[in-house]
């Protein structure tokens, strides 16, 4: 089985400074990290490989220095790494990014058929959560978003069963391979590679592909030219409404849940009790 994991190198947001005078983000000297969400995808891919066999390839699109992230991934035990880097990719929005990644995955697929593509749920810099679905759409892959665990893979029968977080609970879904999975955060703990993995990480070749190497034919779909998103304005949003409250419903009777709900409503609004009293008097 061949598993591809897409990872993005992002600035470590914990270390970004805002210039005290100009209020602009100071990127200079800010260390980069693998997008934290992608590490859950990476670990899950390695687990699938360890359980069902096969190999894991990591793929990133970014500047040449994104090679650091790939080597890091190799140190966790990934088998191969591909860096997509080309001036033509500069300024890509989610449409152009998913186009470039999908094209490269197609190329990898021709070399060695790809069964599962993993991405993180979203990134900490772009935050759109669009790239995964974008790749699935282009490659006509089954799409499983917000996955929390892989239950089973039947590569002979070409099916996969996963757990997915959904409103109010967990769904268990089964679908056919090949598929694309966007992995939820907090679902697993990244392993520590062995000494052998670490040595392999510094010695392995990282394949570097230009747009042409990756098989891109229409260069206008890449980079700034292929990116219809226009950033018109950047501003700090007003704080949102209060956080929604949740009731833990597991193992409770409907009456208990109803009690708890009413209790919560009355605590949230002092006015409510009086209003209801007035209403009942009116009736």
């Amino acid at each position: 089985m061949h598993i591809v994991v897409c990872i993005k190198q992002v600035p470590d947001s914990a270390q970004i400074r805002v210039h005290p005078v100009t209020n602009t983000i100071m990127r200079q000297g800010v260390p980069t990290i693998i997008n934290p969400y992608d590490l859950f995808a990476l670990e899950e891919a390695l687990r699938v490989r360890d359980r069902f066999g096969g190999k894991v390839t990591v793929l990133t699109m970014g500047p040449p220095m994104a090679e650091d992230s790939l080597r890091k991934a190799l140190g966790y035990g990934v088998d191969a790494a591909v860096l997509l880097t080309d001036r033509a990719f500069a300024g890509s929005d989610t449409l152009a990014t998913s186009f470039a990644l999908a094209t490269a995955i197609e190329k990898l697929h021709q070399e060695d058929p790809v069964h599962i593509v993993f991405t993180g749920k979203q990134t900490i810099d772009g935050d759109t959560a669009q790239v995964g679905p974008g790749i699935a759409q282009r490659l006509k892959l089954q799409q499983l978003t917000y996955v929390s665990a892989i239950r089973d893979v039947d590569s002979a029968g070409k099916s996969i069963t996963v757990e997915r977080r959904a409103e109010g609970g967990t769904q268990v879904l089964k679908t056919t391979l090949p598929c694309l999975i966007t992995m939820l955060e907090g679902t697993n703990t990244l392993r520590r590679g062995s000494m052998d993995d670490v040595f392999r990480a510094v010695r392995s070749e990282v394949r570097t592909w230009s747009a042409r190497d990756a098989g891109v034919e229409d260069i206008t779909k890449c980079g700034l030219r292929g990116s219809p998103t226009v950033v018109k304005k950047v501003f700090a949003p007003q704080p949102r409404m209060e956080k929604a409250q949740q009731i833990d419903a597991l193992g409770k009777s409907p009456a208990e849940i109803a009690d708890e709900t009413i209790n919560m409503l009355f605590t949230a609004s002092n006015q409510l009790g009086d209003d209801i009293l007035k209403l009942t008097e009116a009736i």
Partner: protein
């Protein structure tokens, strides 16, 4: 099968990078192991870089190394609670083509230097901690054990550049553990300010820089010093105090830093700055008498791990760079002569250090740490006496100068007594020689 290298360098700080670079350049199969995420990720120097020690490795380092400012002015301030008295030395001679001292941000500099190490051909692995030295049946060190599965790696020679804690050496029984009287704990903050503001406040232009060394009552009677260094768009502000004094007085160094920052002479320099980074680190300040065995059967130790730091002149990075280079050169000489890497032959490294400024300077100030630890009047009483004297002389209030001088002499005498004063002067001279 464990991997095998010619040499293993433990640590990617100043010492480790200098050693690994020198070896890799000479074609040695060298493995460098760093526990941090990348070289520099754990390093906290204030910090001043002395160009000579880097030039000895990479003559053209100024072209690509991340440097903040070159230093043109050095201030020494003796503070009491309200005042400072001090000396400033500033010279346009320091605005030279190849400046002598720079401020820098260690995280960036170490990363750059480690990049050069990789380019020179060393194998560098990170996020891997060396736990202990491995030895063969004869007791010769022949590798290290790391904190990963299959963590044993072999080599003919191990160079320990693991910094002040020196845990690898003490765990492996080649040295004793560090003592709280020998190490200072320094806390440091990075205060961000626009370049123009720094230039105005410190009376400098472009990439000129200023260093302020601070002693006196800010350390509350404990042995220690504070500092303010100008970086490009930030100030490194910190204070360091001997750990045994902190323990005795149960004072947290960050309390001292807060006090120093609010001093009326310091606060205006920091006004409006954004504090982004807070860090704490130990410094080996025991001097010559705390230097452990520098080499043994199959191993050498460099930099902070070997206690090579001159606290009086705040020189540590240059000693680390120089000792790392000399350890590597020792290995190269033995290799070229086909001599075995054993305890006797590695003594050449000790000799090289004895012949260099590193051990010569530490020897010169050999008595200083002891004298300072036992004579706290230098940091408690004298700052007040000096400031009092200056104020008495400068205040114009109708009192004649002779009376003023008498008052000053009386203040000094009643504080310390004539024998105390003469004794202190004598101690200082002795410590200096």
């Amino acid at each position: 099968m464990a991997e095998k290298f010619d040499v293993i360098v433990v640590g990617a700080g100043m010492a480790g990078n200098a050693a690994a670079y020198t070896l890799a350049k000479a074609g040695v199969n060298v493995l460098q192991i760093e526990r941090g995420e990348y070289a520099g990720s754990k390093n906290v120097q204030g910090g001043i870089l002395y160009a000579q020690a880097v030039e000895a490795l990479i003559p053209e380092f100024r072209e690509s190394a991340p440097l903040e400012r070159h230093i043109i002015e050095q201030r020494i301030w003796v503070l009491n609670d309200k005042s400072y008295i001090g000396t400033h030395f500033r010279s346009d001679n320091f605005n030279e083509e190849r400046p002598n001292r720079y401020t820098l941000v260690r995280a960036q500099f170490d990363k750059w230097l480690n990049g050069e190490v990789k380019k020179a051909g060393a194998t560098v692995i990170t996020e891997t901690t060396v736990l202990e030295l491995l030895k063969d049946e004869t007791g010769k060190v022949n590798g290290v054990r790391c904190d990963r599965e299959n963590g044993e790696v072999r080599a003919d020679c191990v160079i320990l550049c693991d910094g002040v804690n020196a845990l690898v050496g003490s765990r492996s029984g080649v040295r004793k553990e560090i003592n709280s009287k020998e190490v200072a704990l320094a806390v440091k903050e990075m205060h961000f300010l626009p370049r123009d503001v720094i230039n105005e406040r410190f009376n400098i232009q472009e990439s000129e820089g200023v260093v302020i060394e601070i002693l006196g009552t800010v350390t509350e009677g404990m042995l220690g010093t504070g500092f303010i260094y100008t970086n490009g768009e930030s100030l490194s502000v910190g204070i360091g105090v001997i750990v045994s004094d902190l323990m005795k007085n149960r004072i947290n160094p960050s309390t001292l830093l807060e006090k120093m920052k609010s001093h009326p002479s310091v606060a205006p320099l920091l006004k409006g700055s954004e504090v982004k980074e807070y860090s704490a680190h130990l410094l080996p300040e025991g001097g010559y008498d705390s230097v452990p065995e520098l080499s043994g059967n199959g191993w050498m130790v460099c930099g902070d791990s070997a206690h090579l730091l001159n606290a009086i002149h705040r020189e540590g990075s240059n000693m680390a760079l120089t000792s790392g280079r000399l350890a590597a050169e020792t290995y190269l000489e033995l290799r070229d002569k086909g001599q075995p890497i054993n305890a006797e032959n590695l003594k050449k490294y000790n000799q090289k250090l004895e012949n260099s400024f590193v051990l010569k300077d530490l020897k010169k100030y050999r008595r200083m740490p002891h004298i300072m630890l036992e004579n706290k009047q230098f940091v408690t009483m004298y700052p007040d006496l000096l400031a009092g004297a200056a104020e008495t002389l400068l205040r114009v209030d109708g009192v004649d100068k002779k009376t003023k001088e008498k008052k000053i002499t009386k203040d000094f005498r009643s504080a310390r007594g004539i024998f105390g004063l003469v004794g202190d002067a004598f101690k200082l001279v002795r410590a200096w020689r």
